[in-house]
Structure formats: C-alpha cells, structure tokens
Amino acid sequence: MAFISTSDFKNGLKVLLDNEPAVILENEFVKPGKGQAFNRVKFRFLKTGRVLERTLKSGDTLESADVADMDMQFLYYDGEVWHFMQPESFEQYTADANAVADARKWLKEQDVCIVTLYNGAPITVTPPNSVVLTITETDPGVRGDTSGGGGKPATLETGAVVRVPLFVQTGEVIKVDTRTGEYISRVK
C-alpha cells in the first residue's frame, strides 16, 4: 500500500480516512509563525457523500485508496442488484442499492454511466449529466396553454418524477438534467 504525505495532497486525491475511501476537496496549510505546522483538509467520503474537515500534522501520511472511475454501460436491474459492463473489456460488475443510491431513478438500459470502483467493486454510480427518457404518465395539459408556466409532474420510464411544461404529454420523449432533476427539452 502506498502512503501519501500531506505535502503531496492534491485536490481530487483518493485516500483512506477512517478505513473508508474519501476524496480530498481542499487542503489548507496552517502554521503559526513560530509553531507547529498543520494541514486542514476537507474530505468527501465516496460511499456516503458526507463532507468532513480533518486536521493532520504536516508530514503525516494517509494510505492511498485504490479507487478508479470507469465508463460502464448499464445492462439491467435484476430486482436486487444493478449489472454494468465495461465496454472495452466486456467485464461485468454488479452494484448494490448503496452504490447506486439516487442514480437508480436515471438508469436506463444501454446508457453509459461512471462507475467508481473501490478495490475492484462499485461504490458509487454517477449517471450521465443528461438522460433521454419516455414519459409513462402525466396529466393531460390544459388545451391551448403553450406558455409552459407552472408545469406539472410527469413520471418517466425509470420511475423518476420531474416537472414538465403543461404541453408535454404521456408517451413523449424528453431530456432531463440528472444533476438538478430538471426538464431540459423534448426529443423528437
């Protein structure tokens, strides 16, 4: 295992903090003129997303975490776990509900996601920034209203519910921003 000193900390570096993989978000050098040097480091735990600040003595080390982001195609959900495939190697991985978390409502078969592997196993799944999905159910809009003001809820094929303009109807295909959960446009 490689150990990394505070002097080599960089934003984006993946390390083990309290035995959990975490990414370094910020690293601030703190030193009284005539005193001990510290590093005040902001981490985000990769599994939970929790952000925490922790101080280390300058020169102390943390173990590097074997973490890699990979593009993978979502294959299918078998009712228990989600199956992904690495398109070049055809290697398949399964992710559980903890790893898929909120991404589940955007996952459509064949779409390419970012799967974060820790020690070779998926710990988080990041959907594409935008996805194209079919509306399975929405109330018929008020005829003649094309302004789009107000909007209404629409259920998508993956189960996600987003607000759409009143003129958008069941069966239509729309593009959604997965980071905000907002409707972007209709897709023809």
Binding site: S7, F29, K31, P32, G33, K34, G35, A37, F38, L56
Partner: protein
C-alpha cells in the same frame, strides 16, 4: 522554446493594483520611521548560523571560494533577528529593516517560502510602547483605505479562556482534549499527544483565530512561558513571557518581544531547541556564537517586532491568497 503549457506562465501572478500597493507601503514605512528617527539597516540574507527553532526549516546553500569544491554551508535567513541584535549591541540605536526571509516547508494560501519582513527594534521600549507604535503604523498604512477601529489588547490567557473556554496555563492535557472535542476537533489527541506546545498551537490556530473579530486588529500579549521564542520572562510572573502577536482579520501578521538580553538564558533556549531537534531527527544547526557574544557584551533594553508585509498587503488589497500580492510566487519564480 517555451516550457510552459499556456505560454503565459512568465506573466506576474498579481495585478498592478497589488504591485502599486506594495510600492506605496514600502514608501510609507520608510517615511514613518524617518520621522521617528529609526535608522534603516541591511543585514545579510546568507548567514553562517541559522535559528534553532524546531518549527523553522532553513534553506541551505554552499559558499565556495573560486576553484573550491568543498566549501562551507551558508543558510538563507529565516529572520534578520540575530544580525539586527548584533547591531543593537554594537550601539546602532533603534533600527528597522525591510528584507526577504526564507522558510522551507512553508507554502499555502498564507505562506510563500520566500517572503518580505518588516522588522524593527526600539531602544527603551517595553511591550506597551511597542504595541502603540505598531498600531500607529497600521493606522498610517490603512489611512484612507480601510477604517480600523482601535485594536483590542488582550492577554493570551484571557483570550483563550474567552474563546476556547479553557485555561492555557493551568489546564491539563485531558482538559485540552475535552475542549478540542467541544469544538469538533476529535482528532486533536492523536495529533498532539503529550506535547503541550502542539496542543496550544492547534487550539489557538483552529479554535481561537477563526473567532477573532473581522476588521479589528488584536494584540495578544503575555504568551505562556512554554512558548518563549526570544522573549524575556515577565518580571514577577514566571508563567508568561513578554511576547506579543498581532492579528488582523484572524490572520497572524506579526510577532514581537521585549527582547531577551541574557546570554546564558539565550544559550539555554538554543540548547532546549536542539534537544527537541535531536529527538525529532531534525538537522542540528550551529548555535549562533556571535549572537551569544553580542548579548554577553550587552544588548540595550529594547523591544522589537517582525511583521509579514505580504500578508499585510493581502489585507490591504482584499486578497485571500498570498500569490495575489506577489509578482512571482514560488510556483512562478
């Protein structure tokens, strides 16, 4: 051929506003001291002896006579203090200096390994008069730029009790650990262990400094005797030394002392530092014999302070990173 990716790496890191502010500050400082009859001096950046402070890591270089290959080690100074005290002992009277100081292993938002210090010594001044003069200089420099309310003068112990809820002089390490926990610093025990000085440094920098009122200068005086640096013991109170630190917007700007003039006590502090260095496996720089001889000859009663000019410029220009006030920080030097 250019080695930089963008081709613009040769450009200064800071804008002309910061360069002009620096030029103006340098001119104002010189005016300030001329009026007060304090003489500007220069002392060497390259020195045969370095400070022994275990928390300072000097750059070393090698001095060669023409054709020589072995040579001798010269240190880049971490502060001009020893040389200026030799001038004071020789009868210079009150002096000031604006110079570069160099500290290895110090780089961050508030640190550049090469930085500019303003350091001055006033014969016959105690800590109170020194604080008065520092405040007068700040008022002159900030005049017309930023309205500084009167500085708050508070003892280290009082401030610690107010903002951290613990007594820096009396509390046990267990009480420090509880204080750290209350302030969401559970990792403190693992970092500080049994080292009282590290505890004080951690609690002060992490709990107290962030709570200092923005926009107000603080003079924190009467430092614990275990953090003496080069300050005199306070007469009649063995628990503290006559040391003062200046903070503005929560940032440490300066460090001053009623200067230790006792050669034996100075050598004891060198030896104590070297013991800490030996235990930590750090390099053992030679004790500055010339400083000890100068103190033995006689240092006039005086107080002195060093102020980080780059940080002062940060606060004058509203910068949150030291690179915003340096033409060429270490990443571009």
């Amino acid at each position: 051929m250019s080695s930089s990716k963008s081709g613009a790496d040769w450009q200064p890191a800071c804008g002309y506003k910061a360069l002009r502010a620096r030029a103006e500050v340098l001119a104002q400082i010189r005016r300030f001291f001329v009026v007060r009859g304090v003489m500007e001096v220069e002392t060497p950046l390259l020195c045969q002896a370095a400070g022994t402070d275990p928390n300072l890591h000097p750059f070393t270089s090698k001095f060669l006579q023409a054709g020589q290959t072995e040579g001798s080690v010269l240190y880049l100074q971490t502060s001009p203090e020893f040389a200026m005290k030799r001038l004071l002992a020789s009868g210079s009277g009150s002096i000031y200096q604006i110079c570069k100081a160099f500290r290895n292993e110090e780089c961050g938002h508030h640190h550049n390994p090469e930085f500019t210090l303003l350091e001055w010594y006033r014969i016959g001044f105690g800590i109170d008069e020194l604080m008065d003069e520092i405040e007068a200089l700040l008022a002159a420099l900030f005049h017309g730029k930023r309205n500084l309310p009167p500085a708050k003068r508070v003892s280290y112990r009082q401030l610690f009790k107010e903002l951290a809820g613990t007594d820096p002089l009396r509390a046990s390490l267990r009480e420090f650990a509880e204080c750290a926990k209350r302030h969401h610093l559970a990792e403190a025990s693992a970092i500080c262990g049994e080292d009282r000085n590290t505890w004080l440094d951690l609690l002060f920098s992490h709990i107290i400094q962030p709570q200092l009122e923005q926009g107000r200068a603080y003079f924190v005086y009467d430092y614990p005797a275990c953090l003496p640096s080069l300050a005199r013991k306070k007469p009649g109170d063995e628990s503290v030394v006559e040391r003062v630190e200046l903070f503005l917007d929560g940032l440490e700007l300066g460090n001053g002392y009623h200067e230790l003039a006792d050669a034996t006590e100075q050598e004891n502090r060198f030896d104590a530092d070297l013991t800490v260095r030996r235990r930590a496996g750090l390099p053992l720089p030679p004790k500055d014999r010339r400083l000890l001889d100068a103190l033995a000859y006689g240092l006039p009663d005086c107080s002195g302070v060093a102020i980080g000019l780059d940080r002062l410029l940060m606060l004058m220009t509203g910068s949150d990173d030291i690179t915003q006030v340096l033409a060429f920080p270490v990443s571009k030097c």
